[in-house]
Symmetry: D2
């Protein structure tokens, strides 16, 4: 019988290791990486100061939205290509590879040149045209699970990207349920399920997954203990003034403390035979 | 206070009437229209014979997928531009305006020329780049609600299209729930909710909404009685041999009987002061 | 192979007809019945005046809560046995059989004596001890689907009651989804699904199903057109002053107009070969 | 303004510590406890051998179902009072306090005498009659969250029990979503949310939460890292032969290894300032 997910499925394979930024960063197969940064790029000063802080605390990559998918056309849509320029500048000054979301095939060339890890957002997980084109760019792709997509659909979406030749990192960021105390319900069990069904690295986003900064630490640690290969966390120097998603952003100070705990949990579990 | 949905919101407006195919078909504001046809365009003979049958039974427009969004890249992806040609041919021979889904900005020009009502599929409801571009084409748009999108998000998505100048028809096609007896849970209450919050026409898709042909009649009648402005129904001459979604397609014979009932329910309720 | 639902399943059976109130009211197998009345019994005057009004408009049974299941212990819990007495009084004066919810085995004897159709509420759909005991009372049971119960679970719950000997009427009253524009998402497709899988009568509750009085008419008509055997509707003479659920209660005047439409839709569809 | 949850709410209180079994076991306020044992009590030999094993590995309490709530009346319903006797025997021989589910007020006296921690199952979370009666028994109560109950409803349900005088431990055991790769979606974020809104101890059930034994370890560790006060885990010496839920039961050997990891994660996080 044909394999269900020929490229994304486990099919007896070892855990994949994805290299980002000419190998400066690795994720999967025992390599753990934390992506941190603001929801959206706001200014040179903002993105650079956050980049330096998160690097100092141990982040491996810098995230920041240049093109922002927003439910309403009247909300801030991101700085666009100007935002991309600011991310490049921050990368030059800190050495952190950059991760940012592509929303349209219009900017394929810009992303291919400048972005180290190209994010497909949750709303575009089944934008198959975009998946196909991004898959051909020869850059690794961070594929976020749609808010009501099944794990089966996520692996099929990965298949669209992988067929183009790109490597894929899967990202759980919360599913939509009836619960209103959190923005989404972060499906931590997606981690062991994906590790069983697939060989691809799995990253968890506790910021979108909960929607509130004060739940981020607990969920980041939960994801780590459950065996995630990495985390993507929103950090802002002044969450109250953030242009978007301030409510779910933690400060650099909290981020540093969290990194300590993450590293300690990983070390502890690795000593006991691995996660 | 600013209106929540400046263009799609009710805001005291009369029900919008959308004209399709140079006014050959109207929907909204008392005009009811049924869109019928196969899941996917398969061949000249297939699409033409179904088109003639559904026209004879009272359908106002012909649907048929040329570009098919499929969860798996290994499933049939549609005939593409060849499918579009077959739809044009069926339109020429029957006079039925054609409705088909656009999946990518790559084919904007083809759709602008050939398609009478451009469908944005459920998976692309928040593909904002596509929404913006399609909104500029000067063709009406059938915007399907995402399987886990709220009504608030649907109206915001409509806002993206309307800002470009196009007219919009909203379409409820089932939301994702825990229930597995049906493919989706068709949210009939979206009809009265949308009629209250918006002035745009509302169409219901009982085929995708249930996933099984034997539930289509009951749900088509339910949507009609609830006040929908139209329906979109999958019809296939030989469902067992359909290239996709045969399980949820009804035969032309059943479609004819259903049209009779739909018309009778509408006449009855209109006589009692309207739906 | 053994039948999946030996007693509640279709298994080739004709549609069941359930008689309520010594046969004064029938439901199922072509018999349609509307149950109407207030959310909770408040006073002699209140329940009697509503009972007279809904009877005049064509309701077949009177509903009214004496024991109210409330999420919070600090909300009004119903008049209890006093409420039951008021319902009996209303029954004596109008002849309408009474329908009310049992919450505990403590009152089995009272319900067996005084209530014509014993309601098991959505929260108690899997309170198996209660199901078993109520099934032995020799009174028909109105079994409401739990807000997140599958149709499979509903039929299994019916099985618990039927084994005791009682007859069962199934009731769809909305399932819990992510949508917040309505209190629940009324699953109208449960009607054709249940009619296929089961021979038991199916009633729909558009009041709890939507949570807002202005959506009740549309959904009551939708349920009727979809083939429901009956409806249960909250009616209150002064919704703004209702002790509970006023927001989803319609006035007697609206109820009368709705009954006209319901009857007209049923007559129309019956003329065309049945729903 | 009145407090929203007068008894279960945080309202500035310290974390509650609940004592079980005459103080032999504590949970909450820094005390962590693992409840382990079979889904259902099957025989003297079965329950005793598992009890000894889980005690040896560090479990604080023994779980085991005597009365089993089952969707179908044709499934095994538990040994009833005989099962309770076997649990008592196992308690006498191991010293482990026993935790088992009450399904009906019929057995209040038996549970008051013999059970150390009385479980209210997920299906009965809003069986308010049962909540009130169990609350008067002077025994601590393990209150499981319903599969589609919000956190707000869980705290209100706790309020019903607490008003009777009993102490309450809250339990997250998975909510119902569209995902089918797991039996439920274990809402780990309920842990930090409940710790913020309430002072009551929070326990997590990774067995029902996932439905598969091979995901239990990851989720048990996730819950621990997220700050849960305890876990309830199904353990069976021979899962393949278990009378119920064998698929989600781990063996004693796996349980021992898991306990090591749980303890190590807790020690690590406590050293860094607490979870």
């Amino acid at each position: 019988m044909a394999e269900k997910y020929p490229l994304s499925g486990r099919n007896g394979r070892e855990n994949a290791i994805v290299e980002i930024g000419q190998g400066s960063c690795k994720i999967g197969g025992g390599h753990f990486a934390v992506i941190a940064g603001p929801c959206s790029v706001e200014s040179e000063e903002q993105v650079l100061s956050i980049a330096k802080e998160v690097k100092r605390c141990g982040a491996s990559m810098l995230r920041g939205g240049a093109f922002k998918p927003r439910s309403s056309p009247y909300s801030f849509q991101g700085l666009g290509l100007d935002g991309l320029e600011l991310l490049k500048m921050a990368k030059e000054k800190t050495g952190l590879p950059i991760v940012t979301e592509i929303m349209s095939t219009e900017y394929l060339k810009d992303f291919a040149e400048d972005v180290d890890l190209i994010q497909i957002g949750a709303r575009n997980m089944q934008n198959f045209s975009l998946l196909k084109e991004v898959g051909k760019l020869n850059k690794p792709v961070l594929l976020k699970r749609g808010p009501s997509s099944t794990i089966d659909e996520l692996l099929n979406a990965a298949e669209y990207v992988l067929r183009g030749g790109a490597e894929v990192i899967l990202c759980e960021r919360g599913v939509r349920t009836f619960e209103t105390a959190t923005r989404n319900t972060l499906d931590i069990s997606a981690v062991p399920v994906l590790k069983e069904k697939s060989h691809l690295p799995v990253v968890v986003d506790p910021s979108h997954g909960t929607g509130y900064w004060n739940y981020v630490e607990a969920m980041a640690l939960a994801a780590t203990a459950a065996g995630a290969d990495g985390l993507i966390i929103e950090v802002h120097s002044n969450p109250a003034e953030a242009w978007c998603d301030g409510q779910q952003s933690i400060t650099p100070a909290l981020f540093c403390k969290l990194m300590q705990k993450i590293n300690a949990v990983r070390a502890t579990l690795n000593n006991l035979g691995g996660i």
